[in-house]
């Protein structure tokens, strides 16, 4: 099942997942053409290359994509998360996700 693993990350952890699929819960800062600038749960800005014809609406989205480099993600899919999300909570989940104590769970 390893081909379907997509860890939850923030901006700081992107660099460790270059070439792999991740989930980035983020706030949309601005969206122009086929690129969007988003803010990850740790506050870092990430550039997302959107798939054709995608429009990011809503202020919070979860981007599933492959990591190009430490600050760029190529989007595969996107989930709208509405306008009310506690980003500190999201970041806690991201950090615990990578905590070795829970390696068996995620």
């Amino acid at each position: 099942m390893t081909e379907h693993v997509s860890p939850r990350v923030n901006a700081a952890r992107l660099g460790k997942y270059i070439g792999r699929t991740i989930r980035l819960t983020c706030k949309v800062v601005r969206s122009q053409g086929d690129t969007a600038i988003v803010q990850a749960s740790d506050g870092g800005e990430v550039s997302v290359r959107l798939t054709q014809g995608t429009h990011l609406d809503g202020s919070f989205v979860e981007v599933i994509g492959t990591v190009n480099d430490a600050a760029t993600v190529k989007m595969l899919a996107c989930i709208n998360l509405g306008n009310d999300l506690d980003m500190d909570l999201v970041n806690d989940v991201v950090e615990l996700w990578h905590d070795p104590r829970f390696a068996k769970l995620v």
């Binding site: 099942m1 379907h4 819960t25 509405g82 009310d84 989940v93 068996k104 995620v106």
Partner: protein, 277 residues
């Protein structure tokens, strides 16, 4: 669980208690694995990740599933719907929660048309919560879903993972202690060298946790009373006043409040107090 505690047939050993018949739980597959725990597990709902479901083990095809040696009954998963395959008798949802993918099969009751209303709103690329049980068919695992619903608040997704982590820690280390238990059990745990992350400040507050919410003067009175040698007639109010000092009226009021809340009681007369615990 405690209601079974007095039953001589179901000791708290959790093993070896196989009875040939007459099990009050009516379990036909009487394995010597402690029926009591089994019944409890079957009625519980455990939050899990999809990876845990793939790593769950089963002794044989009819046995209960276990995750890290803990039996699981009902499970709940939160995941993104990757695809929906609606058939006449059931509906298949491919779920992905980031730890893996699994199929959730929901049997449709053809006789009722309120299903569309109850399970409606679920589309691809939304998060849903699924409750059900883990099944295996032809070496493929799936969730037999008894209930599913759309997640409308994205904070619930975060909650599910945090709850999953918490439950895992509880299975590893035992339940977090209630504040009143923390001091004694925390000290015991420290003796064994296994400090639980849950013990809220097992520092040397000497059993004061249950009084932590009290105003300072009441707490000081309790602390003083705890420090005194135990006497049946309790402690005279004058001794308390001498130790605490300050306004006699304030001390009297504080004692009245402590008495109202049941922390202390009067003994031989109205000026002798003893701690309730």
């Amino acid at each position: 669980m405690s209601q079974y505690g007095d039953n001589p047939y179901y000791g708290n050993t959790g093993g070896g208690g196989y009875l040939a018949g007459g099990s009050p739980f009516g379990s036909a597959n009487g394995s010597p694995g402690g029926q009591l725990r089994r019944a409890a597990a079957q009625h519980s709902l455990r939050p899990v990740t999809i990876k845990q479901l793939h790593n769950a083990t089963q002794a044989h095809s009819d046995a209960e599933w276990t995750i890290d040696d803990a039996e699981v009954g009902q499970i709940t998963v939160v995941g993104q719907v990757v695809s929906i395959n609606s058939q006449t008798t059931n509906c298949l949802y491919w779920l992905d929660d980031g730890t893996g993918r699994i199929e959730a099969r929901h049997w449709v009751d053809a006789g009722t048309d309120d299903d569309a209303e109850r399970w409606g709103g679920i589309t691809e690329n939304t998060y849903i919560r699924v409750m059900g049980s883990l099944k295996s068919f032809a070496n493929k695992r799936y969730i037999n879903a008894s209930h599913l619903r759309l997640i409308k608040d994205p904070n619930e997704i975060q909650f599910h993972f945090l709850e999953t982590f918490t439950v895992d820690l509880i299975f590893q280390k035992g339940a977090p202690l209630r504040p009143s238990e923390a001091s004694s059990a925390g000290a015991a745990a420290n003796h064994q060298g296994t400090t639980s992350v849950y013990n809220p400040q097992s520092t040397a507050t000497g059993g004061m946790e249950q009084y932590a919410h009290l105003p300072s003067i009441q707490r000081r009175i309790v602390q003083f009373m705890m420090s005194q040698p135990h006497q049946n007639e309790g402690i005279h109010v004058a001794a308390i006043a001498r130790h605490i000092g300050g306004d006699a009226q304030a001390i009297s009021d504080a004692l009245d409040r402590l008495m109202d809340e049941g922390h202390v009681f009067t003994t031989i007369d109205d000026s002798h107090f003893a701690l309730s615990t």
